[in-house]
């Protein structure tokens, strides 16, 4: 969520009213923005430097940091926030934005060369005439471009904005794409000429600009905008030319937005001109620019046309769950900057101004009615539909087994599904199984390289982190591991496992073996008969298909001759044994351990044995 800093007193001046912090917070809450922080410029600096907060000067200007919904680009500057709130408070009507060319002015033209299609195909432009900047509005103008670049323009990948002092330039303009060596100009804030290739090299150490270089760096041609005297306006999306830089005294501002996404270019341009045309000689009047594309097709920007939606009063009420008259809806929507015409019989024609690019569908208009009505004035009613509750069978089985494991004296742990290759494979001597793991492409730390393929490493990690726990330590977890699987749509699947870990002065092999037997006993799965003898504890074994058994195994994770795999319906579904001392050493565990890890999915069936997976 973007945050916009506004000077409190400036905002209150615009709103024509002074609020307490609480009152303003309530207004924000109602409107759907959030007063995130009340601070001062100096305090922000102090915070950045990690200094104490206590020496606050009395005369510090209070700054409100306001969180803005991510789709409301019109609220990214103080002009937009105060205008939207004034309209919401019915202190101002929504302005009508006009494309117009004042007498004596010439419409500017931008010619687009076909090569731009190779790197950044779109450009849209507009001119603001007779602008009067103050120090504050100039700063806000620059900040808005920054905010747009960060959010809607996706760090300039989709759109880049260039603003120029038109008096220093002479149209018509050309948008071209040329080999970098051929583009030579003096960039903003520099005093000498560079060719674009050298410039990219030069900016590799620039903290702010280096993050944008990748957008065009590897392209054989770079986008560039020239005026009719071959003056470089900008090398989008990296830097503007020094020649046409705007200043506090600039009167006529030429705006160009180059883009890979035409829709977003138009929204960006519209946002800039609808916000800052309020400072023009003719407020809210924008001088259009002709863009002649590579096919010589002419289009005029900005497109300030109103989007039209037809909504019906009954549909609005039915969606929200309120009973509001059509005329009331008209006035509510006006508070949200929309133009509405009641066509009779509850049919409303809603015209959406270019500031409200977030409105895509009638449902967005329903929301505006609900906000203007007040969310908390809506009557809350339970849905009337009759449905029946039901658990997911695998989760139900897991919960039943979790209770059983707690009953036999084990303590539940809950570990992460993400881990390092070292823990998941190397520490447990399973390097040969690396291909079975789902691998993260963009981990931020080594801790999250793969999804776990076994619950054992996580449990050993937990044990190692609890060295103070009195022995024997008895832990369990019932959770998912994630395995690569060709049979699944995504190429991976979860598998529900049960893990039991015993750690004491002696290895406790019999303990985990006993837990296996107990789990099977409560699952109602009989032990397979060995040579038709009943097992040593007098329990009757069986030879049926449903039985489980165990046999010696050679798993590197476990100690030789102290381990066995668990078999059910001729499939290996688990393993138990004494954990290998080298594994313990890798996890820095001093006491011997035994573990059981079991896939419980084969036992997710109903009372008749039908699978519920």
């Amino acid at each position: 969520m973007p945050t916009v800093s506004v000077v409190r007193d400036e905002l209150f001046r615009e709103l024509g009213k002074t609020y307490t912090d609480e009152e303003f917070e309530d207004l924000c809450f109602e409107f759907g923005i959030e007063l995130d922080d009340v601070t001062t410029e100096k305090e922000m600096v102090r915070k950045e430097l990690g200094l104490a907060d206590d020496q606050m000067d009395e005369d510090e200007e209070i700054i409100y940091k306001i969180d803005i919904p991510a789709n409301r680009y019109d609220l990214l500057c103080v002009e937009g926030i105060s205008r939207a709130l004034r309209i919401f408070l019915e202190k101002q009507a929504t302005p009508t934005f006009v494309n117009d060319v004042a007498e004596g002015n010439e419409v500017q033209t931008m010619y687009v060369k076909p090569e731009t299609a190779l790197i950044r195909p779109h450009v849209v432009c507009a001119t603001l005439r007779g602008v009067t900047f103050t120090k504050e509005s100039y700063k806000s103008f620059i900040d808005l471009q920054d905010k747009l670049h960060q959010n809607l323009c996706r760090q300039r990948t989709l759109v880049a904005i260039g603003t120029h002092d038109l008096d220093t330039l002479k149209g018509p303009f050309r948008y071209e794409a040329l080999p970098p060596e051929k583009i030579v100009f003096t960039p903003l804030k520099q005093t000498r000429e560079f060719n674009a290739k050298d410039l990219m090299e030069f900016y590799k150490t620039d903290l702010k600009l280096k993050q944008y270089l990748h957008i065009i760096e590897d392209s054989p041609v770079y986008p560039v905008i020239y005026d009719s005297n071959d003056v470089v306006l900008s090398l989008p999306p990296i830097i503007n030319g020094a020649h046409s830089a705007i200043t506090l005294d600039t009167k006529d501002v030429f705006i160009e937005c180059t883009a890979t996404d035409h829709t977003k270019a138009c929204i960006t341009l519209n946002t800039v001109v609808t916000m800052f045309s309020q400072y023009c000689a003719q407020p809210f009047t924008i001088e259009p620019v002709k863009v002649i594309d590579q096919f010589e097709k002419e289009r005029v920007y900005p497109d300030l046309g109103l989007k039209e939606f037809e909504v019906n009063q009954r549909a609005v009420c039915k969606a929200i769950g309120v009973d509001i008259e059509a005329e009331k809806i008209v006035s509510l929507l006006q508070k949200m900057q929309l133009f509405v015409e009641h066509k009779g019989e509850g049919n409303l024609l809603v015209r959406v101004p270019p500031t409200r690019s977030d409105i895509l569908h009638a449902c967005d208009i329903y929301e505006d009615v609900a906000i203007a009505w007040g969310y908390n004035n809506i009557v809350k009613e339970l849905p009337t539909c009759m449905t029946v509750g039901k658990e997911f069978p695998l989760n139900q089985l897991s919960d039943l087994l979790r209770s059983e494991l707690a009953m036999v004296g084990f303590t539940e742990i809950l570990t992460w599904a993400l881990c390092s290759v070292q823990e998941n494979f190397v520490n447990v001597k399973r390097e040969h199984l690396m291909e079975t793991a789902v691998t993260i492409g963009n981990p931020k730390t080594l801790d999250f390289e793969v999804c776990r393929t076994s619950l054992l490493p996580c449990a050993l990690k937990t044990l190692a982190a609890n060295k103070d726990a009195p022995v024997p330590v008895k832990l369990f977890e019932v959770s998912d591991v994630i395995l690569v699987s060709d049979e699944h749509e995504s190429g991976a699947k979860n598998e529900r496992r049960l893990l039991v870990l015993y750690s004491g002065k002696e290895s406790g092999f019999e303990v985990v073996h006993g837990v296996l037997n107990r789990i099977m006993q409560v699952l109602g799965v009989p032990a397979e008969l060995d040579n038709n003898n009943s097992s040593s504890n007098g329990e009757k074994g069986t030879g049926s298909d449903d039985a489980y058994s165990w046999r010696e195994s050679q798993d590197k994770t476990f100690f030789p001759n102290r381990q066995a795999t668990v078999l059910h319906k001729n499939k290996e579904i688990g393993i138990f044994g004494v954990v290998h001392p080298e594994v313990l050493k890798a996890f820095d565990i001093v006491y011997p351990c035994s573990a059981l890890e079991l896939n419980i999915e084969p036992f997710c069936y109903d009372q008749h044995g039908n699978s519920l997976l």
Partner: protein, 504 residues
């Protein structure tokens, strides 16, 4: 005869019976220490025996404490070796000596003190010219050491003097007095500690006396050695029960790996949306892409993103199937909700549904005390014809009131796949402010239409994390103390049952 009697008494052994006999004759023991002196008994031992008689209610004890005069370590030294002044006097000898020689034989500490008292007592003299120390009294008496032997009879001024010289101090000494108890007898009966199977079989329990229990505060029973369920999962069970009570059906969420298609595109989240950035989402290098996506549905999703339809103007960009096939670790369980709703739309006849899930989701976030790269998302949704925003608020109110949060309000918010969208706030008495506790909204028509859900069907949904309410309930400030390998096992074992509500 008197002497003989005393002699007999002094040889009386310290036994429970003898103590009881003494009390029987004298009716009481007024001061245990006096008795010990008289009988030559060890006070500690007497105390032990009496306490066991007290526990059997044969006698009643009363504790007293006195301030008594006692020798300090310094005082005991004097008693043993003589006072410093006496030692110095002796050390000077008849021939006299130098101060340095004195210090050599007696130590500096003794000489410093002893010398000045000797001078004061005029026992010695010191020739400044020659440095020679000689006796000036022929014969002296070590009164200090004599007086210390007889502490009890010292007058107060003397006492204060020795206190100042740190030879005597006042210490607290306890003694006790004894009187007959309700079960007084001359013989000590044996008491049984516990009821045994043998006693029941033989009926001997009827004759036996049982030792009274120690039920004083702070004395606890043996801790049971059963197992324990994890704190977070106890809360999961509570949440699950609330959903089941409200008629919700649990969704199968056991697929952490999801395609971008189901995680984002199906939810009408545009492909350039910041959430789809590698900074926020774990993308997979293996398996990097999903294989099978429902072709027809995919086409309709593409159309909706690019050109809109059904009243929507769409996002108006070029939608890429390759982007949609990119695999990731799901960032929300809403990916599963999308699958469930798509399946529901494929049914012959629409029936209203209430779905819920509580399961893991993943965010490529920087870790801090309240954020992990994985957490559990709680999600509830209702699908039916003609659901309203008021219905969503109603179902949310019901859900949270079952959690004990009755004071809630809604704030307009933005969510890419719901419209209207609302953040849910609850007033927290402890923090004294409104806290955000969840997010909610009505699924956008652009999400539902491509699934082919019948027109007029609306889906309302809300979500929250499981960790946040659990941390509030069990007062955790660092999430890593609650989940992950650094969890404190002892904490898991000691946490309370999970009652409804966030108070605990």
């Amino acid at each position: 005869l008197y002497l003989l009697q005393q002699c007999q008494e002094n040889t009386m052994e310290l036994t429970p019976e003898n103590i009881l006999g003494y009390i029987n004759e004298n009716n009481e023991v007024s001061n245990s220490r006096d008795l010990c002196t008289k009988m030559n008994w060890d006070h500690e031992k007497l105390f032990g025996i009496c306490m066991s008689l007290v526990s059997k209610e044969m006698i009643v004890d009363k504790m007293h404490s006195d301030q008594i005069r006692s020798l300090t370590a310094e005082g005991r030294k004097v008693l043993e070796n003589g006072s410093p002044e006496f030692l110095v006097y002796q050390g000077v000898g008849t021939e006299g000596t130098s101060k340095a020689d004195l210090e050599k034989s007696l130590g500096k500490g003794v000489v410093n003190i002893g010398f000045s008292y000797c001078m004061k007592n005029k026992w010695i003299r010191f020739d400044k010219g020659t440095g020679l120390v000689t006796r000036s009294a022929d014969n002296v008496h070590d009164t200090v050491s004599e007086e210390l032997q007889n502490l009890e009879n010292l007058d107060n001024s003397k006492l204060n003097l020795y206190k100042k010289r740190k030879m005597v101090e006042m210490v607290k000494q306890t003694h006790f007095s004894l009187t007959k108890g309700p079960k007084f007898a001359l013989e000590v009966k044996t008491y049984e500690a516990t009821l045994t199977a043998d006693m029941i079989a033989s009926g001997s329990w009827k004759e036996l006396d049982f030792k009274p229990l120690n039920l004083s505060k702070g004395v606890k029973g043996l801790p049971p050695n059963g197992g324990h369920l994890h704190t977070l999962l106890k809360c999961r069970t509570m949440m699950k029960e609330i959903f089941l009570e409200m008629g919700f059906q649990e969704m199968p969420t056991n697929n952490y790996v999801e395609s971008s298609f189901w995680n984002f595109d199906a939810l009408f989240q545009p492909q350039q949306h910041p959430a789809r950035d590698a900074h926020d989402t774990f993308f997979l290098s293996d398996p990097a892409t999903a294989k099978d996506l429902p072709a027809d549905y995919l086409k309709r999703v593409k159309e909706m993103h690019e050109n809109g339809g059904s009243g929507s103007i769409g996002w108006r960009y070029n939608w890429s199937e390759d982007e949609a096939r990119k695999n990731l670790l799901r960032t929300h369980t809403t990916a599963v909700s999308a699958r469930m709703l798509y399946q529901l739309a494929q049914e012959k006849e629409f029936t209203p549904k209430k779905y819920f899930s509580i399961d893991k989701v993943f965010r490529n976030e920087t870790l801090d005390p309240t954020h992990l790269a994985e957490f559990n998302q709680i999600e509830g949704l209702v699908a039916d014809y003609n659901l309203t925003l008021g219905n969503l608020m109603g179902v949310i109110r019901e859900f949270f009131s079952k959690l004990g949060l009755t004071n809630i309000k809604f704030k307009p918010a933005y969510n890419p796949y719901t419209e209207p969208s609302m953040e849910i706030f609850s007033y927290h008495e402890g923090h004294g402010k409104w806290l955000e506790i969840g997010n909610s909204g009505v699924f956008r028509p652009e999400m539902l239409t491509p699934m082919n859900l019948p027109e007029g069907v609306r889906v309302i949904a809300w979500g929250l994390s499981l960790e946040r309410p659990t941390m509030i309930k069990y007062k955790y400030s660092n999430i890593r103390d609650l989940v992950g390998h650094k969890v404190d096992i002892d904490g898991v074992q000691k946490n309370t049952i999970c009652r409804r509500g966030l108070g605990n």
